[in-house]
């Protein structure tokens, strides 16, 4: 187990290195002079020079890279060009809404999509199965921001059950927090649910055709026990894998969903940073998001051994 843990951690190192180099290189890959673009059309040559110096772009490439990596290792993501605040501080301030949104989405998706997929596989070919599959195609095709607006229109404007937009911190009470987070979470959950339901169904179909499932039925076990205990347990590895990979989808969706629902999280910070061409902030957010993705998938890999004791690395 420890050997596996260490080996898996080591395997994540090159991914993190590539991400870091890539995020650094982006600034230099883009056509044109980044300092001039960040400064905007109305900037004077002095302003451009100032930004260039601030970003360290006047230094040789190697020095820039080493400086940047050195700062990163000390947890310093640089300072915002716009407000001069440290990027790490800006990100920390916006963490709670984004975490609330993603965790709630994860919760809703797994809670609803896994049973949907199980039922679809159990009743393969029936109208329930077709309904779930149709939902999966639909969920994959309708963009999050369209769904978001439809939900706002229906539940906030027409029915008036939930607030239109905004965010209330959890510290101000459970219901105010929940009422603000529900619509965006369902919006974000749709595509994720489609993905999970689809893979659950596929994986379950495969396990349900195994001999031990027939044996379980034959010895008189209740259907729920066979489905949940025997089949789902054995079908779990691909499902958990997709939940991990799907986090990338979730993160992309966060940016869009937060701006539809005016939630002051990392997504909003990204959009504001784009509009102000605040490049250090964009770089910082990409690093945080990619880091989250790597960590989630590390955890997923660890879960393999728990879910399926046959897996020994």
């Amino acid at each position: 187990m420890h050997v596996f843990l260490i080996r898996r951690l080591l395997a994540a190192v090159p991914v993190v290195v590539v991400v870091t180099v890539f995020v650094f290189a982006l600034l230099h890959l883009a056509p044109g002079d980044p300092a001039a673009i960040i400064a905007g059309d109305l900037a004077s040559p002095e302003d451009v020079a100032k930004i260039r110096a601030k970003l360290g772009l006047d230094q040789p490439l190697l020095i820039q890279f080493v400086t940047w990596i050195g700062q990163l290792l000390r947890g310093d993501l640089g300072n915002s060009i716009f407000s001069a605040h440290p990027v790490s501080e800006l990100i920390a301030q916006r963490l709670e809404p984004t975490l609330s949104l993603t965790l709630m989405t994860l919760f809703i998706s797994v809670l609803l999509a896994v049973p949907l997929g199980v039922i679809a596989a159990w009743r393969a070919g029936s109208w329930i199965d077709r309904g779930v599959m149709a939902f999966a195609v639909f969920g994959f095709s309708v963009p999050g921001f369209v769904i978001g607006y439809v939900l706002i229109w229906l539940f906030a404007i027409e029915l008036g059950w939930l607030p239109v937009q905004g965010y209330t911190p959890l510290a101000k009470g459970l219901w105010p927090w929940l009422s603000n987070i529900l619509l965006p979470s369902f919006t974000l959950a749709l595509a994720y649910m489609a993905l999970i339901a689809r893979i659950t169904r596929a994986s379950m179909l495969e396990t349900l055709s195994q001999d031990y499932i027939r044996t379980a039925h034959a010895k008189g076990l209740a259907t729920e026990n066979v489905l949940m205990g025997h089949a789902l347990r054995n079908a779990a590895v691909p499902i958990v894998t997709v939940i991990g990979i799907g986090v990338a989808l979730l993160i992309g969706g966060v940016v869009v969903t937060e701006s539809v629902f005016a939630i002051p999280g990392l997504g909003r910070l990204t959009v504001d940073a784009i509009l102000r061409r605040d490049y250090p902030v964009i770089q910082g957010i990409i690093l945080v998001f990619s880091g989250a993705y790597v960590v989630v998938n590390l955890v997923v890999d660890m879960l393999y051994t728990v879910l399926d004791p046959r897996i020994r690395y």
Partner: protein, 290 residues
């Protein structure tokens, strides 16, 4: 066998078409929807539209009417015309990204799968790229460039490439070990020729399916980027741009956001249906599993 041949030649072509529709309903529905969107976008100038960027301050924020089927926006521009013309951007971006990502990914995947030496490095780079969410990668590239449709295409293509590379590589890895490749190597066939003549044809069916999914995802990402203000330049009508401009008026006039959204959703749905259908047709084994 003979009977089947006579039967198929004796039947008029139309019944062949109907049989196809019955056997592959998803492809048929998807293609029909997609065809409708393509025709409407290309034929936009002849479908009762006006100049989609002409401003008319006296006609601002009009409701749906016989004159303005989808109403007008805050500059008095006709939304029906803007939505039809907007389809062109989505289709151009979708097709270009699918083509560019597939070709780039194919080239890298073939070489990486066949040459062990390159493989490890290439795959680590691909893993790293896949760890960066597609929209974030695109945003980072666009934020540093002057906005243009071409930059959007490049920025959306880049994150899609690793998916193609992984697919092509996995096909190459399974086929490479088979006897006919060994035979080809034994008679002195060159590596490029093996890649072209033996590996490419086997990688093609899953690649075509993947390309349709990439096309759908590119249409979605372009719309999302434009919606966020980091995509197609605002002066060009695209579905994402139209929705972004309509946002402040959503509570007043939901149709300004929902109508372009509907077109976007139908287009992506159509492409995905075609992709699902192609997958069922080209790989029945996979189809039964999914």
């Amino acid at each position: 066998m003979t009977a089947a041949v006579t039967l198929s030649t004796a039947q008029p072509a139309r019944s062949g078409f109907l049989a196809f529709v019955r056997r592959h309903p998803t492809v048929a529905i998807g293609s029909a929807l997609l065809l409708a969107i393509v025709v409407v976008s290309i034929a936009a100038p002849w479908l009762g539209t006006v100049d989609p960027i002409s401003i008319n301050p006296s006609q601002r924020l009009r409701d749906l009417s016989a004159e303005h089927w989808f109403g007008t926006d805050r500059f008095g521009r006709d939304l029906y015309s803007r939505v039809l013309y907007g389809g062109r951007i989505s289709l151009i971006v979708g097709l270009s990204v699918a083509a560019m990502a597939t070709l780039t990914g194919l080239a890298i995947g073939l070489v990486s799968g066949y040459l062990r030496a390159v493989d490890a490095v290439v795959m680590r780079v691909m893993d790293g790229m896949m760890a960066i969410p597609a929209i974030m990668l695109a945003i980072a590239l666009i934020a540093l460039s002057k906005a243009s449709v071409f930059i959007v295409i490049v920025a959306v293509t880049l994150p899609e490439v690793p998916r193609v590379v992984r697919l092509v590589r996995s096909v190459v890895l399974t086929i490479r070990e088979q006897a006919f490749i060994e035979a080809a190597t034994a008679i002195g066939t060159s590596v490029p020729r093996i890649l072209w003549r033996h590996l490419l044809p086997n990688a093609l069916p899953p690649l075509i399916v993947q390309a349709t999914y990439i096309c759908a995802s590119a249409v979605l990402i372009e719309a999302a980027l434009s919606f966020l203000g980091a995509g197609t330049p605002p002066e060009i009508p695209s579905w994402g741009n139209i929705m972004a401009e309509a946002r402040p008026y959503f509570q007043l006039k939901p149709s300004m956001v929902l109508l372009p959204g509907l077109f976007l959703a139908v287009t992506v749905l159509a492409i995905n249906l075609v992709g699902d259908g192609l997958r069922d047709m080209l790989d029945p084994r996979l189809a039964r599993r999914m």
